[in-house]
Subunit: 214 residues, 2 copies
């Protein structure tokens, strides 16, 4: 399979962690987002939405949307599993994941930032306020769920890594990218520290990918 | 189970369609969003994120995030199934769903609209431009996937209703709410017309719920 990726894309990061956790053999095709490569016809033929990531299967089909790809990889390569075995537990893990992947991250992406600054006239301060509102609001909700539930363990759900952990790590990377302070969310920060100590998360870190700044 | 809902919430709509399609017995607890009931401590104790929908199970656990709830209901009440049986097909259906539920809908919700108008000074025209960009961008991507794939049938994926159809119907409801023209997306519009003719979609329509304007 071919993984269309970019060092900075958090959606690509989420898939990259799964590929690493499950040791799934793949080829990486880096797309130059800063240079606008994702907007050109060659990539639009891969993913008409012109966003990363995409995953081309060996039969030529192209999968799109990071969390759909995460679920796919979890189905075709079940070990280690990224969802618990009970339906309510899976719903909690998917719910935690989507607070980040649905309600937060889509508000931060380049197309949205560019629209706000270039079409709506937001200043740098206005943009930072926008990003901070989205990220703090999301992490406040995640922290409340984590701190308030006996289902929380070493990681977001018990003591095994789930897709909720991948999304939490993605959320805290956004805090880093946009220079925000996460200290008001101690449960989330402590879990993320454990995650970053795992080889798959360390290897998938955006700043360790080709093209990233030194 | 108790379904915390509101007539206008599109995320609640998506769950409401599933409850209707699967004939799942439940109690509806309507939350007065216009009156700010979702922001008060009583509802924050149900869902700390203070958004709809939420689903309280009989054992007291509360599920959150619409698409996590949709997956849960599909697991506990498998007929009719809302995902195809093959992994790549499920990835396509989830991917189509998330173009709406992740990349589009979270940009339209009241908290975001209020931030843009009250904190960032967007005018009515600016807000409409923001909503139009998000909704057209999402539907353009969905249309390209639908029109370009032999997997598309009477509905988004073959001839059975999947969660992608529920999200497509949700997307076109947003077009209606915000008075946008969807005629540039004929495949999506044709599928939505078929969906609206189904009893479960008709019964779940926002304007048929208690509290909706006549």
């Amino acid at each position: 399979m071919i993984f269309y990726s970019n060092w900075r894309s958090l959606a690509a990061y989420r898939v990259r962690v799964v590929l690493a956790l499950k040791h799934i053999s793949h080829e990486v095709h880096a797309i130059d987002m800063l240079g606008g490569e994702h907007l050109k016809p060659a990539f639009r033929a891969v993913n008409p939405q012109a966003v990363l990531p995409a995953l081309r299967l060996d039969d030529g089909r192209v999968l799109f949307q990071s969390m759909a790809i995460v679920e796919y990889l979890d189905e075709i390569a079940p070990a280690p599993p990224l969802l618990p075995t009970d339906a309510a537990g899976r719903a909690r893990v998917r719910g935690l994941s989507l607070i980040h992947a649905a309600d937060t991250h889509p508000l931060l992406v380049p197309k949205v930032r560019n629209h706000l600054t270039q079409e709506q006239g937001l200043s740098d301060d206005g943009l930072q306020k926008w990003l901070a509102r989205a990220l703090h609001s999301g992490l406040e909700a995640i922290e409340a769920q984590l701190a308030g539930s006996k289902d929380t363990g070493l990681y977001c759900h018990g003591d095994q890594v789930t897709q909720a952990d991948i999304c939490l790590a993605s959320h805290l990377l956004a805090f880093m990218f946009f220079k925000l302070d996460a200290s008001a969310y101690p449960t989330a920060v402590a879990i993320n520290e454990r995650l970053q100590a795992l080889p798959a998360f360390a290897a998938a870190h955006p700043l360790k990918q080709p093209g990233a700044p030194a």
